[in-house]
Every structure is written in C-alpha cells, then in structure tokens.
C-alpha cells in the first residue's frame, strides 16, 4: 500500500505543478471579475456575460441611480447620458444583458429594489425574437443573485467553463499578455452610466448620436451580408408573429407591474424594430397593453426604421440613431403617473 500511495503521489507531482501554473493565475487574473471589488467593470472577453458584469458593477457602485435601462444587446444603442438629458432629474444605469429574457428583467428589478434604489424611470426594450423565449426564467449565465443559483455553483460554472475549452488565447489572458481579435473585445463601459463602448463625458457622443452611418465600410459589410443571405429578402406584406407570451411570462409581467407600481415608476416598454419586419402578435400586444397601458410602444413590423436594410450592421442589431429616434418619440408622450390609473 505504501508503495502504491508513494507512486501515486510521485505520479501526480508533475500534473499538480502544471495545474498550479494554470489554475493559480485564474484566481489572480480573475477573468470573470468574481473575486473582490474591481475598479473597472467593462465587458472585456466574449465568454463574459454582460448582464453578469453589469450586476457586479451595480452592487459595487457608490453612485446614486434612480432610473434604469433593461433589455438585450440591442440596448447598446441607448445612450443613458442622452436619457439623463431628456428626462429631468433622472440618473440612469444601463443594465443591459446579452439575450435578455423577461424573467431576467424582473429579477434585476427585484434586485434593484432590494438594494434600496428608488426606481423613478425605466426603459425596457422587448425583442420579439428573444425576450419571451425563456419561459420566464433568467439567462443561465446571469449573476447568481439574478439566476437564483448558489454562489458556489455560479463560481464553479465560471471555473469549469473557462477550463473546459482552454485555448492559447485564454492562457495568454491568464498571464496578462495583450491579445486582440474575437476573444478580446475590451469594451470600455462608461464609468457612471454603464453605457457599453462609449463615453458619456465625451461631448461628441451626444452630438454624433443622431447620425446615420452611411460609411462605405458599413455599406460594403451590409452588402456582403445580403449576398450571403444573412440579410434575407423580406415579405412585401406585413406578417404577424405567433403568440409568444406564455402564462409564466405573463405572471412575470404582472410582477413587474407590481414593482413599478410600488415605486410609482415612469416607464416605457419598447418593442424593438427588428430586421425581419414581423409584427408583434395582437394577443400579446393586448396582454401588454392591459398591464402597461399606453406606455407600450410597438416599433415591430414594416415601418420607417425597418424599411432600410442599411440600418442593420449585422442583421441582428440596428444603428444607434434609431434608438435616439425611439427615445425622442416616446419621451414626447410625457411622464406616467401611477396614481391616476
């Protein structure tokens, strides 16, 4: 037995040393920003979940926020600094996520409420291709306070998913080497608003917000997407989507309404203008209107934004100026007063 144990120990010396060299830097470099408080919470690597990073930033923030933006990556076109200008006394936090679901939005609102923030204004982007596809659950990779999993399980998932597909680029990340390309987007989120990839303090940011990008580079990219059929030919006549709000998702919407009511929130629900030009289902529309009244703004289907294929740089997202147009048009309606309803 002694011989066996001794040989096992000798055998594992080399792998242990190798593993230490690979594993210890993980806890030092902390690629998921899991351990301790950081100075910079920006989306840096593709394997990170934006919603997870945003949650960490909010939890560790000392800023006072009273307004919030929710939704998927399409909210990256929303400039919280512009909203701050447009809605008096507002201080927005951009709480975007990749592939956000209605369950994720509710859980984030719940967290904000539990952290003691006052929720005065809320802008929510609803996507007809994703928001109501999660059966009311939040995204699996979201922060553990949002996905309601145990902290241990959450940390373990990060650790195992990092090492389950260990590449040279990941090793470079661990050892602090500079890498670029698809694994290293290194966006810089605005320190205050958490707006991804632009700086609200730069005066040009707001100035350029209303600009339509008609650059040759973008046009060529879109032409190539058209030729590869990623930007496919759309129907000439408007089509309606199938009903997609399930019972569990409707109950999430009811809970959201209750939370907003509790805070007497001024809110805006925007159904985003997607490339497919498919109109949001009427039954679903009725469900939303029953709960949120005239604060549901439907930009789906064939309209001035969706008509131009060059508004869609990658087929999935639309140019930021469209978000500005949406904000301008919905703000006109005025603030909402729950007590009148």
């Amino acid at each position: 037995m002694t011989n066996f144990i001794r040989n096992i120990l000798i055998f594992i010396i080399v792998p242990t040393i190798v593993l230490l060299f690979i594993i210890v830097p993980y806890f030092i470099k902390d690629p998921y920003l899991d351990y301790g408080k950081k100075e910079n919470y920006s989306w840096t690597y593709f394997f990170q979940q934006l919603g997870d990073i945003s949650t960490k930033k909010l939890i560790n923030s000392t800023q006072e926020y009273n307004s919030f933006v929710f939704g998927s990556s399409r909210t990256t076109g929303i400039y919280a600094c512009y909203l701050n200008q447009s809605i008096p006394n507002s201080s927005f936090y951009h709480y975007g996520n990749w592939n956000e679901t209605i369950g994720g939005i509710y859980n984030k609102l719940q967290l904000i409420d539990s952290l003691g923030y006052k929720i005065e204004n809320v802008l929510i982007y609803l996507d007809t291709d994703y928001t109501f596809k999660g059966e009311g659950k939040s995204h699996i990779s979201d922060h553990y306070l949002i996905s309601k999993q145990s902290k241990f399980n959450y940390l373990k998932t990060h650790f195992t998913s990092f090492y389950s597909n260990l590449t040279l680029k990941k090793l470079k990340i661990l050892y602090g080497f500079k890498i670029d390309g698809t694994d290293f987007p290194n966006w810089h989120s605005d320190l205050k608003t958490n707006d991804p990839n632009h700086n609200c303090n730069d005066p040009k940011t707001i100035l350029n917000y209303s600009l339509y990008d008609d650059s040759e580079i973008l046009s060529a990219k879109i032409d190539s997407l058209k030729s590869s059929n990623i930007l496919f030919n759309r129907q000439l006549h408007e089509e309606y989507l199938e009903e997609q709000i399930s019972d569990s998702e409707k109950s999430m919407l009811i809970k959201i309404r209750e939370l907003l009511k509790k805070h007497s929130t001024n809110y805006y629900f925007v159904i985003t203008p997607l490339y497919d030009q498919k109109k949001f289902n009427i039954s679903d529309q009725i469900k939303l209107v029953e709960l949120f009244g005239d604060r549901v703004f439907d930009f789906s289907g064939i309209n001035e934004y969706t008509a131009n294929e060059y508004n869609y740089p990658d087929g999935k997202h639309f140019q930021p100026y469209i978000s500005k147009c949406i904000i301008d048009s919905i703000i006109k309606v005025g603030t909402y007063n729950f007590s009148n309803k």
């Binding site: 037995m1 011989n3 066996f4 040989n7 000798i10 055998f11 080399v14 792998p15 195992t160």
Partner: protein
C-alpha cells in the same frame, strides 16, 4: 454518478481512503461502506429508485434464507417463482409496459377494433436490467443448490449494489462475486496498478473513441434520409466503434475500480471485433450477459442437445430474448433474430466452436484467410448494428436500402478525418494487445518509471485534448 465525471473523480479517492485506512481492514465495516457508497453512487442519479434496489435485495435475501430450510419441492418452486415474478415484474413494468401496451393497441386496431389506453410516462431506472439479472442468478443458484444462501445481509446488499458494476455490469454470477464479500481483502500492489491502467484505458475508450464516434453516428443516423450511401456506411461504422468503446470502456473502468478494492469481476469483452465467425464474436462480446443467458435460459431449454428443430428454436429464443433485454423496441428484436440467423449455420454444421483461440496468436499479422474471415464477421456485425441503432424498423430498412444504392460509390458527405485516424490508431493498439485482458495491460510495464509515467501523461493529455461531447453511457438505458 458517471465514471467520466468530476463527481466520480472526487468520490473514488475518498472511498479508497475510507475503505483501506478508516475501516482498519474490518470486513464487516468494509462491506457496510460498500453498501453506503453504492447507494450514494446510484442515488446521485435518482435517489427515488434506491427503494427498488433495496426491495429487490430484501426479497431475494429472504427467499434465499427460506430456500435454505424448505425441502418441499413445490414450496421451493413457489419461492423461486416469487423471486422471478418480483424481479421481472419491476423490469417488465419499468421497461416494457408501454411497449406491450402500444403493440396491444396496434394489434387490435389492425383487426378493426380501437382501444383507448394511455401510455404512462415511466422513467427507466438506470441499470435495472443489470442488477435484476444479478439478483436472479443468486436465487436460481440457491434453488438449484449450487450456492449456499447467505446469512450475511450486509454482504448480500453489497453484492447486489456493488457500485462499480451496478448500472452497466458486468452482470456477475452470485457464485463468483458473493464469496468475495466473505473473504478478508488484502491490498495487492500489482492488482491495484493493473486496475488503474485498466481504468485509464477504459476512460480513453469512452471519452475519446465512443464520445467522438457518437457525435458523428448521431448526426448521420438522425439525418440519414438526406445523406448518401457511403456516408451511411461511415455512420454505421462510427456506431460500431461507439458502442464498443462505450460499453467495453465502462466494463474496463468497472473491473479496474473493483481491483482497487480487492475484487475480481468477470471479463466482459475480449476484443470481439477480431472474431473470425459470429459464434466467436458472441464468446467475446458482453460475455457476462451471453453466459447468463446460456446458463439460465439456453441450457434449461435443452441447449443444443435435442434435434435440429430444438437447436433452431433455442437459438432463436436466446438471441431474441437477448435483443429484447436491450430495450422495448422491435429494432432490438430484429437485431437479435439477425444474429440468430448468422449463428445457426455454424451451429447446425457443428462449426460454432472452431475459433476458441485468439486470432493469430503470437504473431504480428493474421493470415489472409483469418483477415478475410475477420472482415466478413465484422461486416455482418456492422450490418446488424444498423437495426440496433435505428429509431424503428422503417428507419433501419430505409438506411440499409440507401447503403445498397449506387450512392455508396460516391464520396461521403461527412468525413471527419481526425476521428477516423484516431479510431484506426485505436484499432491498431487493440490488435497489438489482443492477447491480454485489456489492450495496454502490458504496454510499458517494463519501462523505466519516467518513461512509463510519460505514457500515462500522454494518454491523459489525449483524453483531455480529444474528448468528445460528453455522452451518457449507452448501456445505461438498457
């Protein structure tokens, strides 16, 4: 708990330490620890079904005790049939209830009568076919007075639930495994090292060969209607290596793990794809099940002692029952019947025991004749696996009809060259090690330690680098 999981990698060393160091080599304590560990191992998957194992254990233990004292033959028979009814009753309900119900309804509707009955949403308890047969072997052997019934309930519980082979075999005979629970276990260095090597090779077979082949076999079988004949041939070959890597890999890990704790499990695979005829194949494939059916079904039915009709009948029964054991689907029954058809000519011409020795023993290469026979047998096996893997009989026939079309002479639409190369290297290693218990049993044994360790590190690195998408062991569903 899966053998190829982090959970098991943590579970095994903890159990090892408790088993050898904490129990102070106390036999009763070791057996008790085996029972606890085995229930944890099984409960990790679904703790609710632990009650089934526990119930089977109690029933067979009590019937065994009763058979010890009852001399009246009628009463003994009643006791035996009670055990059979309980064990096969569970198996029948969980595994075959919906199959019989669906076929019953289909038969009536064929004659114009429509019956309304709802299928039940039944979850199949993992490994039920394996431990059921194992406990049955105990009662039958006790009934036949081939085995002394045990008084030791803990030892018997450990025999029924022994975690290395609980969910996918080898299906141990009580006369072989049970006595090992009575004997004081001594740690043997060479046995433990051999066990570790067998575990490593089993993991390689499962994670590298089976899981990678599974990805392509699934892709091809699931889209067979859209693919050409040559791709379908490749799909059948991928499944052939998937099922071998998966099942024999599991058996290797099970046998290796048992050796770490001083147990010897029976051999389950003996390089079956190097067989020269189907009879040899069945002496080398899933040996524990084949011999179980031989001992408890074929021989009681009269075996090959009767006339030609008797031989034909018994052969068909054993192969069809064996097919049905694998699952409640007509595909398994056809697979069994097909193997009976392959086997019969050998039996009827008394050529079923021609190839008892390992092929090309002591030689590097086989003769031309041996090679031709091996390829022919391998081809028959691959053909039969199509029925085994197909979703239903129609799927199998459409798959085969495309293989026998001109499109088989075109270039395959899916051809993952790295996996094909890896499988060929694997076949070569298996060929070189075919005279041992497992292919790498003697590989590097006499090398100096650094070189030997380097080989293990290389194997571990290969397992990590070429690991396929994690798949559950195929035989868990049987």
């Amino acid at each position: 708990m899966l053998f190829n999981s982090i959970d098991f990698a943590i579970f095994l060393p903890i159990f090892f330490i408790l088993y050898w160091f904490v129990t102070n080599n106390n036999l009763k304590l070791q057996n008790f620890l085996i029972v606890v560990a085995s229930y944890i191992f099984y409960g990790w998957w679904d703790w609710r079904f632990l009650s089934l194992i526990f119930f089977s254990t109690i029933v067979d233990y009590l019937i065994g005790r009763k058979l010890r004292v009852v001399e009246n033959q009628t009463k003994r028979k009643i006791l035996l049939w009670t055990s059979i009814a309980v064990n096969l009753g569970f198996l029948g309900f969980f595994k075959y209830y919906n199959f019989f119900l669906d076929n019953f309804i289909a038969a009536f509707s064929f004659f114009g009568t429509n019956i309304k009955a709802n299928s039940l949403n039944i979850i199949l308890p993992v490994g039920i076919s394996f431990y059921t047969f194992q406990t049955l072997s105990y009662t039958i052997d006790v009934y036949k007075r081939k085995l002394e019934p045990t008084k030791d309930f803990i030892a018997f519980s450990a025999f029924v639930s022994f975690f290395p082979q609980l969910v996918a075999g080898p299906i141990e005979r009580a006369s072989h495994l049970l006595p090992q629970f009575y004997k004081k276990r001594v740690f043997e260095y060479s046995k433990a090292v051999d066990g570790m090597r067998q575990i490593l090779w089993g993991l390689f077979k499962k994670i590298v060969i089976a899981d990678n082949c599974a990805e392509y076999a699934n892709q091809i079988f699931n889209n067979s209607g859209d693919l050409n004949g040559s791709t379908l041939v490749l799909g059948a070959l991928f499944f052939t290596f998937q099922i071998y890597g998966d099942f024999s890999g599991y058996s290797d890990i099970a046998i290796g793990t048992s050796r770490l704790f001083g147990f010897d499990l029976m051999r389950n695979f003996n390089f079956p794809y190097f067989s020269r005829d189907i009879a040899e194949f069945w002496r080398r494939w899933h040996i524990s099940l084949s011999t179980w059916f031989r001992d408890y079904l074929y021989i009681p039915l009269g075996g090959s002692r009767g006339g030609t009709w008797m031989k034909v009948r018994n052969t068909f029964i054993i192969f069809i029952v064996s097919g049905f054991w694998h699952g409640a689907n007509w595909t398994f029954i056809v697979w069994g019947a097909l193997n009976a058809i392959y086997f019969l000519p050998l039996l009827l011409t008394n050529n079923n025991r021609n190839n008892l020795e390992t092929v090309a023993q002591g030689k590097f290469l086989p003769s031309i004749k041996e090679l031709a026979l091996m390829l022919f047998t391998f081809g028959l096996t691959v053909f039969a696996w199509i029925f085994f893997r197909a979703e239903n009989i129609n799927h199998a026939f459409s798959y085969i009809s495309e293989i026998f079309s001109l499109s088989t002479f075109t270039i395959p639409e899916i051809r993952p060259s790295n996996i094909i190369l890896l499988t060929m290297i694997f076949v070569l290693i298996e060929w070189l090690g075919r005279e041992q218990q497992f292919a790498i049993q003697n590989l590097g044994v006499k090398w100096k330690r650094p070189l030997r360790f380097l080989m293990y590190y290389a194997l571990i690195a290969l397992i990590y680098l070429f690991s396929g998408k994690e798949q559950e062991f195929i035989y868990f569903q049987f």
